[in-house]
């Protein structure tokens, strides 16, 4: 773990019992599953006496890289089973899987509810309607890889469509704009993600399973994480959230409180859901 005091995040452990070391969490800020979980961990690990440092990185690949070198101790909310399978292939050896906290994560393609198509198959021949664009997210996202390398070829959409990458937020901006004018749009999405509830969208069916099955959201730690932070590892291993619990956490962090008030959001959520979290071991 590294030593710069990130002025915007982190907690210098003012609960002060004992100094148990610094844990650096790396996540992509626009992927709200990681964001929410990171702040939940921050709250709890600090309570346990750790110093927690947040490293926001805008590219998933960099987080994997950083976890292997130990510059980031943990990537909360990784998608290693399907979505990030290629990263795991490359970096897996140097990564310890610390457990799965949620197991119904899923990649999707979605259209607004006012569109009358329901399956990815129906997109064939509609390239003009959508201007040939599938609005994607970060180029490094597993979702992008799945969309480009599996969905497009398997449904033979490659000639008509391309996955336009930029950022999650750009995608959301597009979605917002399109839904407000009832314009046609296809976006790449995933669950759990607050946008599914925020915007009038429906998932398209994926009869070929090109986007993969439901998978688990994992905590990935740097090699030897459990040896260095045994209490933390143990507690993390016990954390499990169901759809409702996770959904309310994300809603609280992203929508109710919003940018800059993540800590308060997590505190509030813990107050409302006192029994969900495993007991603190410290």
């Amino acid at each position: 773990a590294c030593g710069t005091d990130d002025p915007t995040t982190g907690n210098t452990g003012d609960t002060g019992a004992k100094d148990m070391g610094t844990i650096t969490l790396g996540f992509v800020p626009s992927w709200t599953d990681g964001l929410s979980t990171a702040y939940l961990l921050d709250n709890q690990l600090t309570e346990m006496g750790y110093t927690v440092k947040m490293e926001t990185i805008s590219e998933a690949a960099l987080i994997y890289q950083a976890v292997t070198t130990g510059d980031v101790d943990m990537y909360p909310s990784a998608w290693p089973e399907v979505t990030h399978a290629s990263y795991m292939e490359k970096y897996g050896e140097k990564i310890d899987d610390l457990g799965t906290y949620y197991d119904n994560a899923k990649l999707t393609w979605a259209v607004p509810e006012y569109m009358d198509i329901n399956s990815i198959e129906e997109l064939k021949g509609m390239g003009d309607t959508f201007d040939g664009k599938i609005i994607g997210i970060e180029p490094s996202a597993g979702l992008t890889e799945a969309s480009q390398d599996r969905v497009l070829p398997q449904y033979e959409l490659g000639d008509e469509f391309e996955v336009v990458t930029s950022s999650t937020t750009a995608m959301l901006a597009e979605l917002k704009k399109a839904t407000s004018t009832e314009a046609p749009i296809v976006v790449t999405l995933w669950r759990p993600f607050w946008a599914n509830a925020e915007f009038p969208v429906k998932d398209l069916e994926d009869p070929k399973g090109a986007l993969g099955e439901a998978e688990g959201l994992h905590f990935l730690g740097t090699k030897g994480f459990a040896d260095e932070f045994p209490e933390a590892a143990e507690w993390i291993g016990q954390l499990k959230l169901d759809d409702d619990q996770y959904g309310s956490l994300e809603d609280m962090v992203v929508n109710e409180y919003g940018d800059g008030k993540e800590k308060e959001a997590v505190s509030a959520w813990i107050e409302k859901n006192p029994d969900v979290l495993p007991a603190l071991t410290s």
Binding site: S58, E59, A60, A61, L62, Q65, K133, I135, E138, P139, S140, E162, V164, T165, S166, S167, A170, M171, A173, E174, K177
Partner: protein
């Protein structure tokens, strides 16, 4: 440390939001034009079979510079092809060319105005400074809110970022025309417009071309960044290579950018500066052949 929070960011964001809503039609209009131009050009460039295109570009290099330059260009372009980046390079090229075109259309009149009037110059200068020091990334944000993602916001930010040297060098070029030459015009009673079009602009051409050369270079550097907002081409390759830490892809796209940059730099350099034209440039040879009478003695 309780200095009052100054929410400049919010003000700007509000302003941009207001614009997004109220000038929507205008942005749509711009967007349509820019898209039409870039896609039109890139369609053409890609439609031409690469061997033809490579030969044409190398031949242009020969006309304006030298055999050596043509040969080096040929090698560079073949490497681009060999690295499988030809189509991306053409996409980037069309974006750079259109960005340059639009930037120049704005920059030259602005530069002329600044050269003619000290107050315009004084007003324009800090804005240009600002445009160039503001990190290019930041432009991407309003560009995306105005124009959605894709090539248009990339083009838009590229133009803003690449504009300043065009204005500056036009001003510099015109102001740099030897005082005596302008006075020659005045002394013979020429009108301002006669002096501008008959003396200042023609003589400022090398400097203006140097400015356009810089515009192109900046546009190219920005074209890479434009990949972030989804503009296709070498930039997107570079951006996605970093986000997937794919060094091989990054290097190949990056090298393609380098070759393209060097070609464009030397090529446009030769357009403005006749001295840069080697003795073996076709133009120089042709000129020599034409004026066969001896000129040396006086």
């Amino acid at each position: 440390m309780d200095f009052p929070r100054i929410p400049i960011g919010d003000w700007v964001a509000t302003g941009i939001d207001w614009l997004t809503i109220n000038a929507d039609f205008f942005f749509d209009f711009l967007s349509t034009i820019m898209k039409f131009l870039v896609e039109g050009l890139s369609d053409v460039l890609i439609a031409v079979p690469w061997p033809v295109m490579v030969l044409v570009l190398a031949a242009l290099g020969w006309v304006l510079r030298s055999v050596r330059f043509a040969a080096l260009s040929l090698v560079g372009f073949l490497l681009i092809v060999g690295m499988n980046q030809w189509d991306n390079a053409m996409l980037t090229l069309s974006m750079v060319l259109i960005a340059t075109l639009l930037a120049v259309i704005v920059a030259i009149p602005l530069g002329i105005a600044a050269a003619q009037s000290d107050s315009v110059s004084a007003a324009v200068k800090p804005i240009l400074d600002f445009m160039q020091t503001m990190p290019a990334f930041v432009y991407l944000i309003p560009a995306v809110t105005f124009f959605s993602i894709g090539v248009v916001p990339g083009l838009f930010s590229t133009i803003i970022f690449a504009l300043p040297p065009g204005v500056r060098m036009t001003e510099l070029g015109i102001r740099g025309v030897a005082e005596e030459t302008v006075e020659a015009g005045q002394a013979f009673g020429a009108k301002r417009s006669e002096i501008l079009f008959g003396i200042q602009l023609p003589l400022a051409v090398p400097t203006i071309m140097a400015g356009i050369n810089q515009v192109i270079m900046l546009a190219l550097s920005m074209a890479v960044i434009a990949g972030i907002v989804g503009a296709d081409g070498l930039g997107k390759e570079v951006v996605s290579s970093i986000s997937t830490l794919n060094l091989a892809k990054g290097v190949e796209a990056g090298l393609s950018v380098v070759f393209l940059a060097i070609f464009l730099d030397r090529f446009t350099g030769a357009l403005g500066d006749k001295k840069a034209r080697g003795k073996s440039s076709l133009l120089a040879l042709a000129r020599k052949a034409r004026s066969s009478e001896p000129v040396t003695a006086a």
